[in-house]
Symmetry: C2
Subunit: 195 residues, 2 copies
């Protein structure tokens, strides 16, 4: 497939439906030799504070939580569901020690690929190059959205936005973690929900 196969703009909007299944398929066929399937039990760690993250992870089953510890309190930064790419971006890209953890909230099945292998493949394979670009662009758009949401929305607005955008969060994630993810206390979240 040529590098011009995609119109990036269109693809990002639907990357969950198209790019991710394509990537999964590539991982399971052409790239088979570069990936390992790993299993996690509930509460196992994928990444720990102080470690350098060397892998990209592709979540097949289960839910993971990204968090770090500030003044003894866990700050939840993200959740990874099936078909999400999990990684500590900063640690991976800068090859710095991670300041956070990625922990399994449920039993998980995950493909992992060494970042160095991925980079090599990418240099030879324009399609993989483009897939990465689309995924990273999608991540930037998501981060901007979350950032501006934190900057000017009230706690209640952020909660309702999350409900609309990620209704599955509520069914599968304890409120303590959701509160932390939204940047509010558990009690405030509970009161918002009471209305």
């Amino acid at each position: 497939m040529s590098p011009d196969t995609f119109n990036t703009s269109k693809e990002i909007l639907s990357y969950k439906d198209k790019i991710i299944p394509m990537l999964k398929n590539l991982l399971e066929t052409e790239m088979k030799e570069y990936i390992q399937l790993i299993s996690l039990k509930k509460n196992d760690f994928l990444v720990r504070e102080g470690e350098v993250c060397h892998y990209y992870y592709f979540v097949l089953e289960g839910i993971l939580r990204n968090y770090y510890i500030k003044d003894g309190t866990e700050i939840t930064t993200n959740f990874d569901f099936p078909n999400d790419i999990a990684a500590n971006f900063t640690s991976l890209v800068l090859q710095q020690k991670s300041i956070g953890y990625i922990q399994a909230m449920t039993p998980c099945k995950i493909y992992r690929m060494k970042a160095s292998d991925f980079d090599e493949i990418k240099a030879q394979n324009p399609l993989m190059q483009q897939i990465k670009e689309i995924l990273v662009s999608g991540y930037v758009i998501l981060l901007e959205e979350r950032l501006y949401s934190m900057q000017f929305r009230t706690a209640a607005e952020r909660y309702h936005f999350m409900l609309e955008r990620y209704p599955h969060f509520l069914q599968q994630i304890p409120l303590t973690y959701i509160a932390s993810y939204l940047g509010i206390s558990l009690e405030t979240l509970s009161r918002i929900r009471a209305k």
Copy 2:
């Protein structure tokens, strides 16, 4: 120069010092035919709400402010200084109408390049491909940092963090805009500063 010239991790940390001058040089030589130099007067707009952003901008001189309007109030999301790349990422990548403005706070000189031209060059030129990757990665790291900062830091902590990281902001940007950028009211910022 081959695509393996860079070790991405190292380069991101110093991209302001190395990658940006290199990019500027490329723009002024090899890519000369693809760029235009534009001048803005104070308060001119580079991007307006409702327009689709078709260009990447490279700031040569001057300062710009990115903001959008929510319920009649301006929310400042970013500032662009010389040697920054300015663009509305979401609008550019998704080819959607921009929800925000980019406005000159001072007279500006700026190179612009059509995103479509850039994409073509990039497909032929591994170095440009890599430069883009480094710049986008740097942007992701910055966004994550800002997001987590908004999520758990107090207004005072965010202000002091900004002071440390971007001391030039304070010298050149009115406090109203800094307050909005930090997600706090002008009065609160003033009180934080009073201490």
